[in-house]
């Protein structure tokens, strides 16, 4: 069963992350790297991606005269997706366990767990 584990944060939260002490940044990177390695070994890893900072985010609504209408303004409270993991696991509990590990490695940030709805178009 495929699940996506979402890590999100507000703009303020992201700025806070940028100000972490050096040891915390390095420890965080190392632990996440270790989690990815373990997941690859267990065969549960499907994908992981990081997204560019919320400052680069745009919202597009339709087109005017053939040109997309873009906007970069979001409410302060908006939670931006920062990155995700896609895992292929035996059951929901396993997905939660992995999410828990990621959370523990990331100052106990909440990690949202969602199952994939459809079997359309795999990214392989």
């Amino acid at each position: 069963m495929k699940y996506i584990l979402l890590m999100s944060g507000t703009r303020a939260g992201v700025e806070g992350y940028h100000a972490w002490p050096k040891q915390d940044i390095e420890a965080h990177m190392a632990v996440l790297h270790g989690i990815n390695k373990d997941l690859t070994e267990s065969g549960e890893f499907v994908a992981t991606q990081g997204l560019a900072e919320p400052k680069e985010a745009k919202v597009v609504r339709g087109e005017k005269n053939g040109v997309p209408v873009t906007d970069g303004i979001f409410p302060e409270s908006k939670e931006f997706l920062l990155g995700y993991w896609i895992v292929d696991v035996a059951n929901a509990e396993r997905a939660y366990a992995i999410a828990g590990r990621i959370s523990a490695a990331s100052v106990n940030m909440p990690i949202e767990v969602r199952q994939f709805a459809s079997h359309e178009a795999k990214s392989r």
């Binding site: 996506i4 584990l5 979402l6 991606q49 990081g50 997204l51 560019a52 680069e56 985010a57 745009k58 919202v59 597009v60 609504r61 339709g62 087109e63 997309p68 209408v69 873009t70 908006k78 939670e79 931006f80 997706l81 990155g83 929901a92 939660y96 366990a97 999410a99 828990g100 590990r101 959370s103 523990a104 106990n108 940030m109 909440p110 990690i111 949202e112 767990v113 969602r114 199952q115 994939f116 709805a117 459809s118 359309e120 178009a121 795999k122 990214s123």
Partner: protein, 131 residues
């Protein structure tokens, strides 16, 4: 460059979607199928997924003993990721053009809904050579 195009919605948006007419639903599904095919034909398609509904969503934090603590309670205002496309294109403008097309997916009334599509660059895993 890889971009992610995201469709978000509040719980109420999902509930509204569940009440669409059969025709509106079919039109939307047909559009999505055509849209994916367009991306594939253009050689820019990387992946697309639809996500399970907010009622199935869980939030997880690590507990004191490392065991995960799960919770299914979210504020009414929370925006949930409904689905996404990842595309590989030559420029941000190309990504916005494609997002504009996605935004034209027909809505409850069967006409282009002009949904907001959030566009974000996907980070790559390699370093710049600085050449």
């Amino acid at each position: 460059m890889k971009y992610i195009l995201m469709m978000n919605g509040k719980k109420s948006d999902f509930e509204g979607y569940a009440r669409w007419s059969k025709e509106a639903l079919q039109a939307n599904v047909a559009f999505m199928r055509t849209f994916s095919k367009e991306l594939k034909d253009a050689g820019v398609f990387v992946s697309t997924e639809g996500l399970g509904w907010p009622s199935e969503a869980k939030v997880v934090r690590a507990g004191k003993d490392g065991e995960p603590i799960t919770d299914g309670v979210f504020p009414e205002s929370k925006e949930f990721l409904a689905g996404y496309w990842i595309i590989d294109v030559e420029s941000p403008d190309q990504a916005y053009k494609i997002a504009a097309r996605a935004s034209q997916a027909p809505g409850a009334g069967g006409k282009a809904a002009n949904m907001p599509i959030e566009v974000r660059p996907v980070l790559c895993g390699h370093a710049d050579l600085g050449l």
